[in-house]
């Protein structure tokens, strides 16, 4: 049952990658900016709750709500100050600078602040669902992993319903596909950019909180998460949340299987080699070209 357990572990981490990939893809679709700070919001969620609960002694629900509120307000303020000046002003910037630079800088900024506030040790938010891992036959289910999966399904499903069955969701898609056409029917694309940025920041923080008991976070953990989410989103051509989700799951499972069967030490190396080979072999099928040509 080694395979089964590896598969479960892979799907758990994969669903996290998938969520971050979806966050990156959805926001890129709306704003044409890649959110390289999405993992840092997860880190702030995990370490923020840990700090408020363990160090400051606040009750856990208060700690969680406070952390999420701070993340939301910060994301909103960032959009209002930096992105508004960069994108909405009379001297609108375009191209690679906007696509990468502002969120890259944001990532470093958050890391720096987190280092001051939370220190450099490995911490984790307290487990929300305590107890030994559940077993079914010889399969092990970690409770945090089940929470992660459940959250991924709920949030992903809610988002799918929103896109599929509401006019606002369709307007969101439309503003990603054609911003001129969106403005013609009165869609405020800036409002959607703000909404999705704040929403993805909060979602990332939620996942940081529920996932951190499994892996533990330091102030530098964000970048790794962003990177994996970013790669999974790239496999979906950046603009296709559905494909990004599958790619995230695939990368998670691949990582677990390689770690278990090939080598725990060189698993990542082999994985990235495989991912690179896949892109070379099948660029169109993976949506890579649409990512490049926009």
């Amino acid at each position: 049952m080694k395979f089964g357990n590896l598969l479960i572990a892979g799907i758990t981490t994969g669903s996290i990658y998938a969520m971050f990939a979806v966050c990156v893809a959805v926001w890129y679709r709306v704003s044409n900016i890649l959110n390289l700070a999405v993992g840092d919001f997860a880190m702030v969620g995990a370490l923020g709750v840990d700090n408020l609960y363990r160090v400051k002694g606040l009750p856990l629900p208060v700690a969680i709500i406070t952390t999420l509120a701070v993340v939301a307000v910060f994301a909103y303020a960032y959009d209002q100050v930096v992105l508004r000046i960069a994108q909405d002003g009379p001297r609108r910037m375009e191209g690679i600078v906007v696509t990468f630079f502002f969120t890259f800088a944001l990532s470093f900024f958050i890391d720096g602040v987190a280092k001051m506030l939370f220190g450099t040790d490995v911490h984790a938010a307290p487990a929300l669902w305590n107890g030994a891992s559940l077993t079914l036959g010889s399969l092990n289910f970690e409770r945090a992993g089940i929470l992660v999966l459940a959250c991924a399904v709920i949030i992903g499903g809610a988002f799918w319903l929103y896109i599929r069955f509401t006019l606002a969701g369709k307007a969101l898609e439309a503003s990603g596909e054609n911003s001129v056409g969106a403005r013609i029917v009165g869609i405020d694309t800036r409002q959607y950019r703000r909404l999705i940025f704040v929403a993805t920041a909060v979602i990332a923080a939620v996942f940081g909180i529920i996932e951190s008991p499994i892996t533990g976070y330091t102030y530098l953990s964000g970048a790794t998460i962003s990177l994996t989410g970013f790669i999974a989103a790239a496999y979906g051509g950046f603009r296709k949340p559905g494909r990004a989700l599958l790619a995230g799951l695939f990368i998670g499972v691949l990582e677990a299987l390689l770690g278990g069967y090939v080598s725990a030490e060189y698993g990542d190396t082999v994985m990235y080699a495989l991912l690179a080979a896949l892109i070379l072999a099948w660029p169109q099928g993976l949506g890579f070209e649409s990512a490049v040509s926009g």
Binding site: L167, E173, A174, E177, V180, G181, R183, V185, G186, D188
Partner: protein, 251 residues
């Protein structure tokens, strides 16, 4: 409709001293004209002379100087939504559809100007009429808009405009790149829309085609000046082989 009678009619759109600039490039300079309710007004002139920019400025897609009144209410600068809610909807040049969304989703997003509820939008008269006007789109409504033919895309764009329930429909170069037969179909539909009581503004490079439909004309020249020949001084248009104007006037 006689010229004298039309001056007493209610003005649907009044544009005074409209200027539009892109950076340092002035596209429209000091344009003044009016369109009465129930009119079909053509905006004609050679390419690159600012016809589309007039529509962009009037609808608020770009910032402008000067005043625009829609049914007597002063329009907010740069606010497309306000214009759409007060009855002026743009069917833009190059259609500007959402290529990955289905044709019906494209059309229903026209309703976004007046509702947030997809149920209300689906049940609305505006949406129903917009879809019914194009029976040839019926089998393609579930298809991604980007995979439709040019003519079908133009029809989707017009239907999206109608879903916004406009009192004035401004159509920018509706026949750009379309085959003659398709262009004729598009104009037939525009005539139908006009006959149903919607005020029309049509930007056209080819005045002959536009004037088969329109009873007014605003002529744009040199990117700077706009001469309003359509307003009251113009005799009533009678359809002829070439119309009262030569097909292409030289400068």
């Amino acid at each position: 409709m006689s010229a004298a009678a039309s001056t007493t009619e209610k003005a649907a759109l009044t544009v005074t001293g409209l200027s539009v600039a892109y950076g340092n490039v002035v596209a429209v300079h000091d344009a003044t004209f009016a369109v009465a309710e129930g009119d079909a007004c053509a905006i004609t002139g050679p390419n690159g002379n600012g016809k589309s920019s007039i529509l962009m400025g009037v609808t608020g897609m770009v910032r402008r100087r000067g005043t625009v009144e829609i049914f007597g209410a002063a329009a907010k600068n740069g606010d497309v939504r306000w214009a759409a809610r007060h009855g002026l909807t743009l069917v833009p040049e190059r259609r500007q559809l959402y290529p990955d969304l289905s044709a019906s989703d494209n059309i229903i997003l026209g309703c976004y100007t007046w509702t947030r509820s997809i149920g209300k939008a689906r049940r609305s008269d505006a949406y129903g009429r917009a879809v019914e006007l194009f029976p040839e789109l019926k089998p393609h409504l579930k298809q991604a808009a980007g995979t439709l033919s040019g003519g079908q895309q133009q029809m989707v764009a017009i239907a999206r405009g109608l879903a916004a329930n406009p009192r004035i429909l401004a159509v920018d170069e509706p026949c750009l790149g379309l085959a003659e037969a398709v262009a004729k179909r598009v104009y037939d539909v525009l005539a139908q829309i006009h006959a149903a009581g919607t005020t029309l503004i049509v930007v056209e490079e080819a005045p002959r085609r536009a004037l088969s439909l329109c009873n007014r004309r605003v002529e744009v020249r040199n990117g700077m000046a706009v001469s309003v020949r359509g307003d009251t001084a113009l005799p009533e248009y009678t359809p002829g082989p070439d119309g009262p104007y030569p097909p292409r006037s030289t400068a």
